[in-house]
């Protein structure tokens, strides 16, 4: 009896949170669609999310591409290794590893900082102050972050894809002794536009998720420094989990008929 009540309470709590996130998303989207848009803030956020994430995302992509090449080489029989390494690296990176790893890295970096920034603004009453100065906090804080992250993540992932494939190329040509021209030809021959496009669509979705979770948890944080800390953790965890779920759903939509 007690157990059933507990499960019921948990489930209701879950539904409540889902409703809150839904309302938050709806309000945020409506503010993304209607003017005025704060272009200066969008630009600054794009710089922060995209440009300053380049080192960490680039490193991740480079080493992932290199490891991938090594693993495939070890796993495939000698004679078709030259084709297998090039094609599996490019498909693996563009379809899955590029967007997912970049998404997770950016989630750690950006969701956390957004949640901390908005959370601090909440507990120091800066968000209340915005309202009293005729500025809607959704328009000024949330919408620019959502737009910037959704736009900039595909660009970031495009760069990550390139670096990742390049990582495979380095291992292939320098360590495994493949012919450089053949490697590039194999890469280009087997790469389909859908591989890249699906990856970039994923990236846009992940960007949206990252900013949404950072803003949602920061905006609703309460209870001082501890509350901000909790908001930061929740933002990163929920963004990461949602990225993995969204990745599954988008893959399902793109590649299974």
């Amino acid at each position: 009896m007690n157990f059933v009540a507990m499960v019921g309470r948990l489930f209701l709590g879950f539904l409540g949170t889902l409703g809150q996130i839904g309302t938050f998303t709806g309000t945020a989207l409506s503010h993304c669609m209607t003017p005025p848009l704060y272009c200066g803030i969008i630009g600054r956020q794009m710089l922060n999310i995209g440009y300053f994430s380049l080192p960490v995302v680039g490193m991740t992509a480079l080493f992932t591409g290199m490891v991938l090449a090594l693993q495939i080489y070890i796993g495939s029989s000698r004679f078709d290794a030259e084709v297998a390494v090039a094609t599996i690296v490019v498909i693996g990176i563009t379809r899955e590893l590029g967007p997912v790893l970049a998404g997770l890295m950016v989630a750690g970096r950006v969701s956390a900082s957004m949640a901390a920034e908005l959370g601090t603004m909440r507990v120091t009453e800066q968000i209340d102050a915005l309202t009293t100065l005729s500025t809607n906090p959704f328009k000024y804080l949330v919408a620019p972050r959502l737009i910037a992250a959704t736009v900039v993540l595909p660009l970031l992932v495009a760069v990550a894809d390139t670096i990742g494939v390049f990582g495979g190329y380095i291992i292939g040509t320098e360590k495994l002794g493949f012919n450089s021209a053949t490697y590039i030809k194999n890469t280009l021959d087997f790469m389909e536009p859908i591989d890249v496009i699906s990856g970039l669509v994923k990236a846009a979705a992940f960007g949206f998720i990252i900013a949404l979770m950072g803003c949602y948890h920061g905006y609703n944080s309460q209870g001082g420094a501890q509350g901000v800390g909790r908001a930061t953790t929740n933002a990163v965890v929920s963004a990461s989990v949602l990225i993995l779920i969204a990745n599954f759903i988008i893959t399902e939509l793109f590649f299974t008929r």
Partner: protein, 268 residues
């Protein structure tokens, strides 16, 4: 419940702010309990009361930052409780607020903080807004060099003064001051008192202030209201407060530990 609770018993113009039966609770904790208060146009009302009695909550409820469970809030006779969207923005434009903790935007330099409301209204260039901002900073005793600093580089009292400059920069009709002189030295405190008086008298603004500082209250108030137990238990002019005959008010203005108000820590 009388219609004029808390207000003078005469046929008067519509109050600028009229609170009726305002109730707000956090979980089981009742903070405001059927609170009534009227503030007339151009009047300066000071609310006094112990720490944690709901003074800040009252201001935030009027601004719509907190949602009271019941009651009515009228601004210029218009019910504002439950207002949304552009109607709410319209009403909010009448207000300026000095937050208890300053609440300065730490991503912006001081002058942009002060100019924020002006820039948000959109009909002023950045250059002009900066001139106005520096003027407002000067009126709270801060030089133009402070304008370029970030709020984190200011002392607590300086932040308070910047908050004040920001609250009055748009020349709002109604200004809320949440403890304007707390954290300031006595001289600067008096400068701020004068500034508030000037805002109210010359600009014709309506002011609702909160303070613990009786000297400040006597200087800036037309009427003083005392909040206790979620209600306004006494309201009267500055002259009346010394002979209020209300033991709560007497205890508060003389700052005595013994009396009808028992601080939690004194309870056995």
């Amino acid at each position: 419940m009388t219609d004029h609770a808390g207000g003078p018993e005469r046929m008067s113009p519509t109050p600028k702010i009229s609170l009726r039966g305002l109730s707000k609770r956090f979980g089981p904790k009742v903070v405001l309990d059927n609170l009534d208060l009227d503030v007339m146009p151009g009047e300066s009302v000071v609310v006094i009361g112990g720490s944690g009695t709901g003074k800040s909550v009252m201001l935030k409820s009027i601004l719509g930052l907190l949602k009271p469970e019941s009651g009515s809030i009228k601004i210029d006779g218009q019910e504002v409780l439950g207002l949304r969207g552009s109607d709410r923005d319209e009403v909010l434009r009448k207000f300026g607020m000095l937050f208890q903790g300053g609440a300065l935007f730490d991503s912006l330099p001081v002058w942009e903080n002060v100019a924020f409301g002006l820039l948000a209204s959109g009909d002023i260039s950045r250059k002009d807004a900066k001139v106005v901002a520096l003027e407002n900073l000067r009126s709270v005793g801060l030089g133009p060099e402070v304008g370029e600093l970030s709020p984190a580089e200011l002392s607590g009292g300086m932040q308070k003064r910047v908050g004040l400059a920001r609250a009055i920069a748009t020349r709002p009709e109604i200004i809320f001051f949440d403890e304007p002189t707390t954290g300031l030295d006595p001289i600067m405190g008096d400068v701020i008192n004068d500034l508030i008086v000037e805002c109210v008298k010359t600009v014709g603004a309506t002011a609702l202030s909160i303070t613990h500082d009786m000297a400040s209250a006597r200087k800036i108030a037309d009427r003083i209201a005392m909040i206790f137990g979620g209600k306004i238990i006494w309201i009267g002019t500055v002259d009346e407060i010394d002979n209020s005959g209300n033991p709560y008010v007497d205890q508060f203005i003389h700052g005595r530990a013994e009396g009808p108000i028992q601080m939690d820590l004194l309870k056995p």
